[in-house]
């Protein structure tokens, strides 16, 4: 089912949570709404679900205007961040609930066999008799997904589905959700504030800030070509170095970096920690190492430039560096944006 949002607006009392969002989600697509807290991503999801109503604009499911259809009749499957499993029902009863209350009547045998199918799909065979309190967080989230899928929703919506789980479980569930999606091909929209999760899982990432979409595209598009400093910073660690932009090139410490389309004047260089090289001799931006952090996959160096900017970058594990070393950094890759804030 194709979803189309047209200039959707939502205001809570005096706070405008969503300021005119238009978005198209293709049938069968897996889309992430990514943004910091307060960016309106959950509100958008809840409006698509019908748990909140838009103050303005329209939401279409296929050819149908779904803007004012109540959640009960909207035919969406919603997975809550804290699972929202019914604690007084067994896992099987939780999954069967939607079929039992449905206007489409099914007999007991049909419900039981569908529950068994869903338990198999979420790999929880044999746990049907347990209560939610007796299973782990990851298992609960899988039950929540099975329950949402039980009513054959047109659209699957997930609100921070892995937010309450620890890192390893999260990674496993992410891969697993991707598999389920490929298997069922159901149009899926999920909300996350974790950029890694969004990039790992989604066909397309929609990045939100202050109730507006700032950029959308495939993970490759948004990672390789962030359109703003906000997106650059939000997608991962980024070093910021003040630079002077002239005739489409940014200049700092003897380095010259491509900056097509950036107005002349003050600019900011954004570089990922892996895109910074360290050498004892110039040319480059003079810097002094303040601290070295050893990590499983290399060494993270914290340094300060001559201008007082803090830098973080990675060097190979064998590299001999220590706090107090002076040297120069060069940039393998960097994005240049107009200066947004005055640096000291």
């Amino acid at each position: 089912m194709k979803i189309h949002l047209e200039n959707v607006v939502k205001t809570f009392e005096s706070f405008q949570a969503v300021k005119g969002v238009s978005l198209d989600i293709e049938s069968g697509e897996l889309v992430a709404l990514l943004g910091p807290s307060g960016s309106g991503k959950t509100t958008i999801l809840r409006m698509v679900a019908g748990l909140e109503y838009a103050d303005g604009g329209a939401i279409h499911f296929g050819d149908q205007d779904a803007t004012d259809i109540p959640v009960r009749d909207r035919g969406v499957g919603f997975v809550f961040q804290h699972y929202a499993l019914f604690p007084h029902m067994t896992v099987a009863d939780n999954i069967a609930f939607g079929m039992k209350v449905s206007k489409v009547k099914r007999d007991r045998a049909a419900i039981d066999s569908r529950v068994a199918d869903l338990l198999r799909l979420v790999r929880l065979e044999g746990l049907g008799d347990r209560f939610p309190a007796q299973i782990s967080g990851g298992q609960r989230q899988r039950v929540a997904l099975a329950r949402a899928l039980s009513v054959d929703p047109k659209v699957l919506l997930l609100d921070e589905p892995f937010g309450a789980l620890d890192a390893n479980v999260r990674r496993d569930l992410r891969r697993w959700l991707r598999e389920i999606h490929s298997e069922l091909g159901i149009t899926t929209l999920f909300v996350t504030h974790d950029q890694e999760e969004a990039l790992d899982l989604a066909d397309r990432v929609v990045i939100l800030k202050d109730g507006q979409i700032v950029q959308q595209g495939t993970p490759q598009e948004v990672c390789r070509d962030p359109k703003s400093a906000f997106v650059m910073k939000f997608l991962g660690d980024a070093n910021v170095i003040a630079a002077e932009v002239k005739d489409g090139r940014a200049h700092v410490g003897g380095l010259s970096i491509e900056a097509a389309g950036v107005a002349d004047g003050r600019g900011e260089l954004y570089a990922r920690p892996r895109d910074i090289d360290w050498s004892v001799e110039g040319p480059g931006i003079a810097a002094e190492i303040t601290r070295v952090l050893d990590r499983a996959d290399g060494r993270r160096v914290l340094a300060t430039t001559g201008a007082g900017e803090a830098l973080e970058f990675d060097v190979e594990p064998e590299r001999v560096v220590k706090a107090g070393d002076a040297g120069f950094v060069t940039l393998r890759r960097a994005k240049v944006f107009c200066a947004t804030l005055r640096l000291p």
């Binding site: 609930f97 298992q139 496993d172």
Partner: protein, 292 residues
Amino acid sequence: MSTVSTRRKPPRVGDAPLFRRLMIGIVVVLVALVIIAPLVIIGVEAFSKGWQLYRDTVIHPDTLHAVMLTVLAALIAVPVNTVFGIAAAWAITKFDFWGKRFLLVVIEIPFSVSPIVAGVAYLFVYGLQGLFGPWLDAHDIKILFAVPGIIIASMFVTAPFVARELIPLMQAQGRDLEEASTSLGASGWRTFFSVTLPNVKWALLYGVILCNARVMGEFGAVSVVSGNIRGQTNTLPLHIELLYHDYNATGAFAAASILALIAVFTIIAKVALERQGAGRVRKTDNPAEKTS
């Protein structure tokens, strides 16, 4: 080094032996003096003149009538306040509306107002000189010094019990469960009976039991509005006072023993329910184990 095991460990914070004994001692003495002794006296005095007199007092028509009236008041006031409590808790925890905080405070008023004040207030509302008094009199409706007055006064005093038990629980549960239920296609009624109610049932029952105990034991408010007519508008607590004023101490204690018995059953039911309730809380709060 084995010095660690032989050395006396200092007590944990707040666990000094003297302090501990002092605290436990104070509590035990106070409980014995304030709670246990009076209860024992009720039992002893009730039977002090023998089983026969006890039986006579209990099956005396006036006593039986008082018991019936008390039960009647409970049978009406408790269900009404249960429905009120559920509605109030639902409104406060699931909706946002103007004046919500005010409503919360108003619901608590019966707890903070002395029941006798409520009784006097009812006199001024429904009494002959009161607000609706003349109108009620003209239509020949008797509220004060009659059964309706007793029931209304009981309802006032016990209005907060159910709501008070439900509100914190329903607040903690949030709206997720109801939203999940609705998104799965359940109607409002279905959601209420299949999802909301089962999750608050122990707290609800707990509130109902406390409410019932209070209705049956209420003295102050009822005393003002009932008129104390023996065999007509006398509830059990009022009857006890009457017997006592008749210098029938044994009779008063015998009647009191009925109330005490109700109290004992209430306590047992309450403890049993707390077990259930506590079990539920412990289960849901149990942090998840690592997933398989």
